[in-house]
Symmetry: D5
């Protein structure tokens, strides 16, 4: 399964509420990061091969409280890290 | 360790060359994704707590062949996915 | 007939509702795609040669529920795909 | 098969050369449209389910003569036109 | 007299209403075009040499129903078309 | 015939050279205006109904000396000025 | 004393009201110009050396009726015009 | 006479050279300010009523050494400062 | 401890209120500057090594009255000023 | 003395070289931070009251090796941190 990344802009003061809600409500969540820059959160989700990313983002991510805007990044190919610290932990 | 995400814009036609070089040369690579949108690659790196992300991006990521611009996203907090599909694989 | 493409930005959580409404209400719809990136939908429409694209977008597309903004792409010339997979299906 | 759309910005005066080259060289081309607005061309491609859109755009589309920048739009779901003029021709 | 061009962004679904109102209410209108792209209308107006374009746009154009934003293009010099189809009709 | 408008950005110091060349070389020119703002020139052209605006802009306008970028505005509908000063002169 | 320039974006139809209010209420006004482009007004103010430009803009300029946004341009050095028309009038 | 304002972006390290050249070469200069923000200089010029601002900016301002881009702000109306510090000095 | 910088955009006329509130309410404040440009304030904060910058900005900075948007700049490395005026005062 | 902040964009791979050069060459440096986001460095400088910030940035900062663009933030007022961790260290 390839991850789907979604950049999430939240209403002022609500980013961490949104993140907690995402983790509680959305089983597809792998990780949600609060991040620096113009957006507040970077969500990493794993969808089933048959799932529709557009429907998922529209209904599940944009449906979270405090979400003001989203930008979906589709991953095409993953070049796994072969180095000493390669892979997730 | 918290991951560091870097959005990478490459010169025309060189994104996959850059990605392969990153995986070969940079031990800190966890994953490199080719992605849709304005940037070509999304790099996920794990740095040692003492490492300087700025120096890392400047020397290791921007030093890769074909890199035209980078935008560093620092992760502050990771809200691990508790749901059925939570966590990476 | 040459297609008219319209990029559509929707209110949070309403993109798929808007898409379904478009298909139901607008006979000129060829296809509506939910897409990655800054906009939510890419609409492909076939208008009669005499139709006014501006009026069509203003009244029919912007009139759909949940539409927040539109960007009209006029096609000038279609270079049909001559290759093995050329043409639509 | 779902189409892949790519917005293409060309060097001054070369858009139609690029379009003709695309149609000649790339079997995945369904249609290439010259369009109004900030980009010069909108390419519609059909890829095999196993194909990597990122590799395709990087090597085949960005490899065309005169290409200055590209923006890939991934289609998630196609809401087929049910109306009188629905579907492509 | 040199024309004044104003790009006009309208509220969703109201561009043609705004255009008709402009033609009815504003004697300085030469032509109003509905256009592709980010703005909805391109207005071409002829002002008397003594007229203040800023006051005109503020009161007459921005006063039209449905106007959300305007961008004024002042023409400095007109290089009349000398060719076969030069000049307006 | 409906006019085609093209916003033209020129290399530093060359806008008036470009404008004069356009008037001399391109019979479709109705008027070229030097304008305020981000672009240098606003070209107004009349094309034959069968002409391809994309090919025209690519070959004739972008082919002019000193042209750095263009943005094509397609006019859909013209709401002729009915007022005292309506129409061109 | 060196002037302070402030670009002012106003609510639709209110720019001239804002300008008149500025001239009436703010003694530091040197001139207010209605201008072409994305902003509506360019204000030129002379502050006492001890005055705080930030406080001045926040309270006096942003406090005017109809002001929607401001962009402050601080002048560092003035290269006085030595030519025939140098200097203000 | 109404002033013409031009925002000027210069090549790295050359803004003050450009400003000095402007003052020396261009009699229409009233003042040139080095400023904060995205542009380097704000030029204030007085043109004769018959002068063409577009030609002036293209030939005289863009012709200065080190100029990389310009944005012309046309002043429509000047609301003279009536207050204690009104007017230029 | 490395400082955290946050660019803060405020509602019209409230920047100095926001700044005063920040100094009163937030012990992590080192300095708040009112600044020129698109944002109104630049906040400099010192967080404990264990503090989460994202949570801090979301709850403490975005929680201030009058805050409309924030952009967080994470400092990676500080190159202390070795010159005559190096270091803060 | 009030600090001057300058956001600095560097050529790929040269940000840390530029930072070290700044510290070595420019006595006005208080601190240079490598930062996340669109710019690479945030420079904090203390100028003498009589110094011209524009000249300083143009000659000293833009004169550094590897500098591609700069954005100057002028500080108007400093609201010193009164809290437990207020002030720099």
């Amino acid at each position: 399964m390839r991850p789907l990344f979604v950049l999430i802009k939240c209403e002022m003061g609500r980013a961490y509420e949104t993140a907690r809600e995402a983790v509680d409500r959305i089983p597809e969540v792998s990780e949600i990061y609060s991040i620096s820059g113009q957006y507040d959160l970077l969500g990493k989700f794993y969808l089933e091969p048959g799932d529709d990313p557009g429907l998922f983002v529209t209904e599940k991510v944009q449906g979270l409280p405090g979400v003001k805007d989203t930008f979906t990044l589709i991953t095409f190919n993953a070049f796994a890290g072969g180095g000493a610290r390669g892979g997730d932990r």
